[in-house]
């Protein structure tokens, strides 16, 4: 049985909002029975784009995380809704039946991802349907994927075992796996949003030149070197992909015959250690 999956590449998203807007275009003022009643003109974010800025000027980067309904295989909203108001289709898509779900505001709180929205006027919980009404008509992809100009969004219609291969070969992850809801939405390059970096520059004090080719070793705790970087022509280095509040690290910097320098730091969030003068 083939099922739908959504893959989101965080490194390719620059927050153009075409997904968010095309979703509004599809659902505001338009009913698609039996899957959805119209989204209100304002207020809902069925595709909710989160922003994460990392570092301090001038060593910064920024990542965006679009969060739709995760169409979980083990969806708490299905379990906790009454009268089977939320159900899973054979193709993997999770649907809130707008008739049966009327008045069931409690469904909102069941979703750990906050992907369900309350329609005050019609008194129904609502969310992304992966454009089930269009896919059923033969569309190859939902509106958000069609609208994405960078290739950050992609749908895959495949058997679960085929999807598993893609997950492994492309290193895909689910967001917040600790919720254990088995999402069908996967992320690529999630580290750009969910982890932090250590960056800085190395320069030579007496000549005021950037130190290209300096070796920077990243040491975790007391001794263990966990990564090594060589500075580029601006003397810059960057280590990425660490958990926030990761404890004590140190940087061991060496350049040609100059005395080594060691910088100690307590990693809380992404940090620009500044310019290290040798």
């Amino acid at each position: 049985m083939k099922k739908w999956n959504l893959v989101i590449d965080v490194a390719k998203c620059h927050d153009c909002n075409n997904c968010f807007l095309s979703c509004k275009d599809e659902y505001v003022g338009n009913d698609f029975p039996p899957f959805s009643v119209a989204q209100p003109n304002h207020g809902h974010r069925w595709m909710n784009i989160m922003r994460k800025e990392r570092g301090q000027y001038p060593k910064v980067d920024v990542a965006y995380l679009p969060i739709p309904c995760m169409h979980c295989d083990d969806a708490p909203c299905i379990k906790k809704s009454k009268d089977g108001a939320v159900y899973k289709r054979d193709d993997g898509i999770v649907i809130i039946d707008p008739e049966k779900a009327k008045g069931q505001k409690d469904i909102l709180a069941t979703c750990p991802y906050g992907a369900i929205w309350w329609n005050e006027e019609k008194a129904v919980p609502q969310k992304c349907t992966l454009c089930a009404h269009l896919l059923d008509e033969g569309w190859k992809e939902p509106r958000c994927v069609q609208a994405c100009p960078t290739g950050a969004l992609r749908v895959i219609y495949a058997e679960d075992f085929e999807m598993q291969k893609i997950i492994e070969s492309e290193n895909l992850e689910v967001y917040q796996p600790q919720y254990k809801t088995r999402p069908r939405v996967y992320y690529k390059n999630l580290y750009r949003y969910a982890t932090c970096f250590i960056a800085g520059s190395v320069a030579i004090r007496d000549t005021d030149e950037c130190a290209e080719g300096a070796t920077v070793s990243l040491i975790k705790g007391s001794k263990k070197t966990i990564a090594e970087a060589v500075t580029n022509n601006y003397g810059d280095f960057k280590f990425d992909g660490f958990d926030e509040d990761g404890g004590a690290y140190s940087l061991d910097i060496s350049y040609k015959d100059r005395p080594k320098k060691i910088i100690e730091l307590e990693l809380k969030t992404s940090v620009n250690v500044g310019t290290i003068l040798l």
Binding site: D15, K24, D25, Q56, A147
Partner: protein, 860 residues
């Protein structure tokens, strides 16, 4: 429920399929091509093949059109200001406060045409001032150069000339170094995509954010190309005070010089190349003149100050060692300089230092052999393989006006289109003019002098021509027919514009607008226009041309679209053509205006026939399918921009200029007197060699509103940059209860239910002022005050703040023109001063402000 029809139209952000059911638009999508559409181009480079996706991309604001067509802010009936009586008390000073009442079309057009007749009888037609906003809704017939000019030329009017706002520094500076007046000072871009894919090793994006500005009109068509280049390992360096969205995707290195000091960095780069002997000396000797003078300036022989990286660090805050590292990398790699988002343009050209910035960009590119493989000025947005032989005129080419003086109709199109072209004898070089940036001075003071009539594309010298208002023998303005209403959000120091409405010196003001917003709220009579979804038109994706010839090389497929009338006009709104026809009837020239009664669809058919379309597709087929993809010739051969110049050959690109009159030998050389790139400008030398604000060679001259203007800087220590907005196209898409307002990075919804404009401030500056994320703040200087929501960020350095321009609406909290604005018209704060006294362009990015936490009461 009726059947869903899939129609076509064009928008400013790309062509679209429009799904309509029971007379209502239900869905708007980008286009996906089928097998019958022309094949896509393929470029082979570095052992790989590159070909674009078989669909169009679309800008964010185009996805929000349904919310704008059905906006509660739509003007659905003609309106009259309640205390305006054309035959009695006019109460002009109450504009913006009095409120409106509904009147009939007959009453509205009677008032407007009676005023036109009275003013013509008493003062002459030049007492009617009119101007359009820069960007009309898409459609080559509906565009302002077409329907609007045809009408205005026939009644007679004084036009408020648009300054070349996107070009400024290139127009007033760059043009004196390399000509290109037919492109207003920016260079041709032919086939530079292929050149870059084959040869480039680095791209320096300097004041350039194509993921935000899309070149112009071309949605995300060039995104895949930057991804290809990145995939090939081409290094990407960004120089911009804001860590922009293109940088966010691709930056290997980001430099954020203090606003208005990038020129110091540029001089220091030249210093490194000269002192380390790493520039292209043969090119400088054979393809440029005046380099020795520039070299003397850079080395400090002229003024005693060597322009060293250490000197530049003092000015720009960028460490000298990093400037050196950049200069060395640039000299060692084949580098494309993306100066501005189109190849030319860029916020840096709209600043006090804009003319020298453009000249320094050309100077740096020349020092590295501009035009040689992989070395050029290229914005990454134009220069895809392009069939330039296929004629489908751009919107600038006049459409139904046939006005050869004030549109590009005369280049090639007018003769194929018209029985009866129109022209104006007032909106002509010898007639009367007003510069758009100085409309308030002209109305309120009654006099103004300046140089250069708007876009000076005819020749380099055209921008020296002196104008004055009123022109000799012409009347002062008595009426303002405003077409659109964006200037409070888009011009500079804009409380002036508000005041210019609230005066007895302007007896009559009309606004033709789609929405009740901005300047529309200051008119005596408002004529409700409909959107382009409610009328017939024809257009091409990004089809502009004119001063940007062949700019359709931005898009991956040239797509020509029949803009079907998707729905009936809402309420009593009408298309611009219908409104003008209505007025023309009462003025007795509707037969002339409509060329004997042509409907809009008739004009579309005539436009179709005047293009190359009939050679490829019949009208019936085009009408049925709704669009046509222009094929690329099978034997397509790339002719990279300026390669001919670098190699001293005759030009082989399909560019539209320069005019043979400025060439020693036809087809060879640039437009400058020498035909070469001029470090020392011969045109400036002939005009005013003593002009210290615009010297003969490009220099670093500190900003007239920056960190050296000590008194002002002490009072207003934050430098504000206000680039073009990301999610709206100028005011198109913003406010009017559009979905765009809900984008988190566009406006912020506060507890009072109001969507506030965003200002971006560094965490250190925010902390000093006790400002937290999403706090309401007052941004102010001597020119005014605006309430914004703060975004606390590391994307700007301390001392720099960033807020996009172009709020669509204006919401003064007290007396209009004299109070704090709540809607985010950041341009209330920007200077109205010209770049230099003889460079009559705008400089909004030279602006000092202070910010404090807003303690005002919550709204309502």
């Amino acid at each position: 429920m009726g059947k869903v029809e899939k129609l076509t139209t064009g928008t400013t952000g790309g062509p679209v399929f429009v799904y309509v059911q029971d007379g209502r638009i239900v869905r708007i999508t980008p286009m996906e091509f089928d097998d019958s559409d022309a094949p896509s181009w393929v470029i082979e480079a570095r052992g790989r093949k590159f070909s674009p996706p078989r669909k169009t991309t679309l800008s964010p604001y185009s996805f929000a059109w349904r919310s704008m067509v059905y906006s509660p802010k739509r003007l659905l009936y003609p309106l009259k200001r309640v205390d305006f009586d054309p035959d009695g008390e006019r109460n002009c000073t109450k504009r913006g406060e009095s409120g409106y009442e509904r009147i009939s079309w007959d009453e509205a057009t009677n008032i407007v045409t009676n005023e036109i007749k009275r003013i013509k009888r008493e003062y002459g037609p030049a007492a009617i001032l009119s101007t359009a906003s820069s960007h009309h809704l898409w459609g080559h017939l509906g565009y302002r150069h077409s329907t609007y000019f045809r009408f205005m030329n026939l009644i007679g009017f004084t036009y408020a000339d648009h300054n070349p706002d996107s070009w400024e520094g290139w127009h007033w500076g760059g043009m004196h170094q390399w000509g290109f007046s037919h492109r207003l000072g920016i260079p041709e871009q032919y086939d530079l995509l292929e050149d870059a894919l084959k040869h480039a090793e680095m791209i320096v994006f300097w004041s350039s954010d194509p993921e935000t500005t899309h070149g112009i009109y071309s949605a995300f068509e060039s995104t895949c190309r930057r991804q290809w280049l990145k995939g090939l390992g081409v290094k990407m360096v960004f120089i911009d005070p804001f860590y922009n969205h293109t940088a966010g995707m691709y930056a290997d290195k980001w430099f954020a010089p203090r606003p208005d000091t990038g020129n110091a960095m540029a001089c220091a780069i030249a210093f490194v190349w000269i002192t380390e002997d790493s520039y292209d000396k043969t090119y400088i000797e054979t393809r440029t003149v005046g380099f020795d003078k520039f070299k003397d300036y850079i080395l400090g022989k002229e003024d005693g100050i060597p322009k060293t990286p250490e000197w530049a660090e003092e000015e720009s805050t960028i460490p000298a060692r990093e400037i050196k590292a950049l200069a060395r990398e640039w000299a060692s790699k084949k580098t494309m300089l993306a100066a501005g988002g189109l190849g030319g343009w860029g916020g840096a050209c709209r600043s006090a230092t804009g003319t020298d910035w453009a000249r320094l960009m050309i100077s740096l590119a020349a020092m590295q052999g501009l035009g040689k493989p992989g070395s050029n000025i290229w914005g990454t947005t134009q220069g895809a393989p392009h069939n330039s032989d296929f004629l489908f005129p751009g919107y600038t080419e006049g459409g139904m006006s046939g006005d050869v003086d004030n549109s590009a109709a005369g280049f090639r199109f007018v003769y194929r289109m018209h029985k009866q072209p129109t022209r104006s004898n007032i909106n002509a070089p010898m007639g009367q003019h007003i510069p758009r940036l100085k409309i308030p001075e002209c109305i309120l003071d009654g006099k103004f002098e300046w140089r250069g009539k708007g876009f000076c594309g005819q020749s380099i010298e055209a921008q020296f021509h002196k104008y004055k208002y009123p022109a000799d023998g012409y009347p002062e303005i008595q009426m303002y027919y405003r077409y659109g209403g964006s200037f409070i959000g888009t011009m500079n120091e804009t409380n002036r514009y508000v005041k210019a409405y609230r005066t007895e010196r302007l007896p009559f003001a009309v606004n033709q607008s789609i929405w009740f917003e901005g300047e529309a709220k200051f008119a005596d009579i408002i004529l409700p226009a409909c959107t382009n979804f409610e009328r017939w038109d024809i257009s091409e994706f990004a089809g502009c041309h004119g001063y940007i010839p062949d700019n359709t090389s931005q898009v991956n497929h040239r797509v020509i679209t029949l803009q079907k009338k998707c729905i009936e006009p809402l309420g009593e709104s009408k298309s611009d053509y219908e409104i003008f026809t209505f007025l023309a009837k009462k003025l007795g020239f509707s037969e002339v205006y409509t060329e004997g009664g042509l409907s809009e669809l008739d004009w579309v058919r005539r436009y179709f026939d005047a293009t190359d379309l009939p050679k490829y597709i019949s009208w019936d087929e085009f009408f049925k399918k709704g669009y046509f993809v222009v094929p690329i010739p099978e034997e397509y051969k790339a002719t990279p921009a300026l390669r001919w110049f670098a190699e001293d050959r005759k030009r082989d690109t399909p560019d539209w200029g320069p005019h043979p009159e400025c060439q020693e030998e036809f087809g060879k050389g640039l437009q400058t007197t020498s035909g070469l790139i001029e470090f020392e400008s011969s045109s400036l030398k002939k005009f005013d060699p003593e002009d210290e604000e615009r010297p003969l060679i490009p220099k670093y001259i500190p900003s007239w509103e920056g960190h050296h203007t000590t008194r002002l800087y002490t009072k207003y220590p934050l430098q504000l940059i206000s680039p073009h907005p990301r999610f709206s196209f100028h005011t198109m898409g913003d406010a009017k209860e559009s979905w765009i307002n809900e984008i988190k990075d566009h406006r912020v919804l506060k507890e009072d239910g109001y969507y506030y404009w965003i200002i971006r401030i560094n965490s250190k500056d925010a902390k000093e002022r006790g400002i937290k994320e999403n706090d309401l703040v007052k941004v102010f200087n001597d020119r005014g005050a605006v309430i914004c929501a703060a975004q606390v960020t590391e994307r700007v350095p301390p001392g720099t703040v960033h807020s996009y321009e172009s709020s669509a609406d204006y919401d003064p909290m007290g007396k209009p023109g004299e109070s704090t604005d709540r809607n985010g018209c950041i341009n209330l704060l920007t200077p109205s001063r010209y770049i230099t006294k003889n460079s009559c362009g705008q400089a909004p990015n030279s602006c000092l402000v202070q910010i404090e936490k807003w303690k005002g009461e919550s709204r309502k």
